[in-house]
Symmetry: C2
Subunit: 408 residues, 2 copies
């Protein structure tokens, strides 16, 4: 089938020709509504006229960045990787990924579960909503997706086949290389230049050679370390949540990269939210919940990852019987510690890039009072620098929460 | 074209249909002779009847390991990667790679320059031949092939395209994972079990948990660190040499892996040869030449790698203007030091695996006197252990040659 950009009429025609869709709606009439919050893509809710609760989401990529327009070409094959990643993650742990009803790589189209009882997590965090199951859920999601797509679980052949499936996600990987690891730390046109002009923090950051050298080392890891299949953009805007359920969406940046990158992205976003509440709402209870949650996520992630690992005797890395149990356990402990360390390093980069780089987060750049915003930026850069400069020497989780707490 | 195993008659018929071959031999009559030293493949010399010096080598893979027979199936697509690697390396630095006249991935066939004035380097080293240009040549070869296929030179897209071209070399990567990094360090049927039985060194090695834990870390790097396109099996049997020229052949193990693996393979083979001369010939002059050569190779490699790098202002890793020159130079120095460190680690694994693992080297396993062989094995394991346990802490090249020298 040749690619064709659909609209809210033609999508109905297309959908009614797909057997999974016919099955879903049976004899109901259906209609589509475009929803506006697609930055990159066109997103529709498709509903039954007879029963409004019968609905799903259809998402189609266009060969440009939708929020900018046709002047910013971006290959629509990003949807190919989103489809593949959604399917792979769903297969590993269906509880935390929307169900896919239909997908078509040629049409850059995916049809999936409509999460109407959930909100974007970032919105909830800004409103200081406590999600008591979140640490439990997201630690399982991360431990499972990272472990089961790594050389610790897969055999040599299947690991390489996985690399093959995602290696072509060239453009979005390059976006991250530039927009996360390079441009936000130098004078660059993609930055929020209004904000960098005559800004003492920007000047300090852009000339902080020691920090930038460490960032380069982390960037090199991002580009060359093929640990596991990553979501690739696991911020709190990629999570749909309510008190009971957690869903991870939008994995179009998926590729086989370093373990610590997804964990680091999540950590960075929770810390940025902590800073928002430190500066703006001064909600101490919520700040405590955030710190406890960070600690709990990292602790549970480590335990679950090790627990999944304990069930695998044979993989690309391990040949059963190669090593005695005590040494093997020490090896695993060190391995997981190393993942946590690298996560903190990546978190530092992800935090710092949100200050002046393109695509700032609501918690920091969205602060309207310029004095408060400057205070928040100060705090972001202080913690980010600590993370990046010290990540290799972190020995336990308390050191991480202390670095956050002691920033002001 | 469908695959067909050729013999010395049918290969002539095939070749006379290829335009590059017709051009090479013009109107001469040609004939083929099989040469016996293909472990994996069928290898023919094809010569002109009118002019015997007009000749080339034709090499065809069969879907099994030739030296074992059809009982050991091995996908013939290994030739696909050999062809791709030969072309890529030739393109980077033609002086050190045989010229390809014709290749056919479907037929698993390559036709290349006949190196009739050269011998397998291992044979020359055993006879204590001094190759005064070798360090100069091989350091250029390694610096060029590793640098120009890395993210330090390639842009993000081309690096991923390179990964794509070689990612399918699954079977041979798996062979290395097993036969270099795992089986030789445990009781395993593929080992030279005659040699391991009641052998105190074997018992010591197989229970040396600290050593094996370090090997596991290096194996993990081998499997997941996508630095550059490697030869993948750069021992002294993969080098054809004379006093003036050096050629690297047989890159069927090529894949995108860690920088240090090729350098480590070469280092391991030179040290094994040093051990041979320490134990068997006691040729002190040659031993000194070997140590000097090791030092010179590593030093020249480092300098040339840095020199190639200095000409690249913009790549996947670097955005021009990101970092001041002084810091950038420190970054590069540390980067190259890290390559040397990892090379020493890989060298240790490669040395140790030759003692009891399948495919021993002539310099060690070929020693007929069992007392001398035991002495050599002792020395191999001593140096290998030092390399593997200490590689992360090496600060300069003299420490490496000292470790070798002080082993007895």
């Amino acid at each position: 089938m040749e690619y064709e950009k659909l609209n809210k009429e033609s999508i109905i025609k297309y959908l009614l020709e797909q057997k999974e869709i016919i099955k879903f709606f049976a004899d109901d009439e259906i209609y589509a509504q475009e929803i506006g919050d697609g930055n990159l893509n066109f997103v529709y809710i498709v509903k039954s006229k007879q029963n409004h609760s019968k609905a799903f989401i259809a998402k189609q990529a266009v060969p440009y960045l939708r929020c900018v327009g046709e002047d910013f070409p971006l290959s629509r094959n990003r949807m190919t990787y989103e489809i593949r990643a959604l399917k792979k993650f769903y297969q590993i742990f269906p509880s935390f990924v929307p169900k896919i009803y239909h997908s078509n790589e040629e049409m850059s189209l995916v049809v999936m579960e409509y999460l109407d009882k959930h909100i974007i997590m970032r919105k909830g965090l800004i409103k200081a909503t406590i999600y008591k199951n979140f640490a439990e859920h997201i630690s399982t999601y991360m431990a499972a997706t990272l472990f089961y797509t790594s050389s610790l679980a897969l055999n040599s052949k299947n690991k390489r086949l996985l690399v093959e499936q995602f290696n072509g996600n060239i453009e979005l990987c390059k976006l991250t290389e530039n927009l996360v690891f390079s441009f936000p730390f130098m004078d660059h046109e993609t930055n929020d230049n209004e904000n960098t002009k005559d800004n003492k923090n920007a000047l300090k950051l852009f000339t902080d050679s020691e920090f930038k050298k460490k960032v380069l080392t982390l960037k090199y890891k991002f580009m060359t370390q093929s640990d596991a299949l990553l979501h690739g953009d696991l911020h709190t805007g990629s999570i749909m949540i309510n008190e009971d359920e957690t869903y991870v969406i939008d994995p179009e940046f998926a590729f086989v990269g370093p373990f610590g990158f997804d964990i680091g992205a999540l950590l960075a976003n929770l810390v940025n939210n902590y800073i928002y509440h430190s500066v703006v709402t001064k909600n101490e209870t919520y700040k405590t919940w955030l710190l406890d949650t960070i600690h709990e996520i990292l602790e549970k992630f480590s335990n679950k990852f090790l627990s999944f690992w304990s069930e695998y005797k044979d993989s690309a890395l391990f040949v059963d019987g190669y090593l005695d149990n005590d040494t093997l356990n020490t090896y695993k402990e060190e391995f997981i510690q190393n993942i946590i360390k690298e996560s903190v390093g990546f978190a530092g980069v992800k935090m710092a890039r949100r200050v002046f780089g393109v695509a700032g987060v609501e918690e920091i750049r969205g602060i309207e009072d310029s004095t408060l915003r400057a205070e928040a930026e100060d705090m972001v850069l202080k913690i980010a620098r600590k993370f990046v400069m010290n990540y290799e020497n972190i020995n336990n989780l308390d050191e991480i929460t202390k670095m956050i707490k002691n920033a002001r």
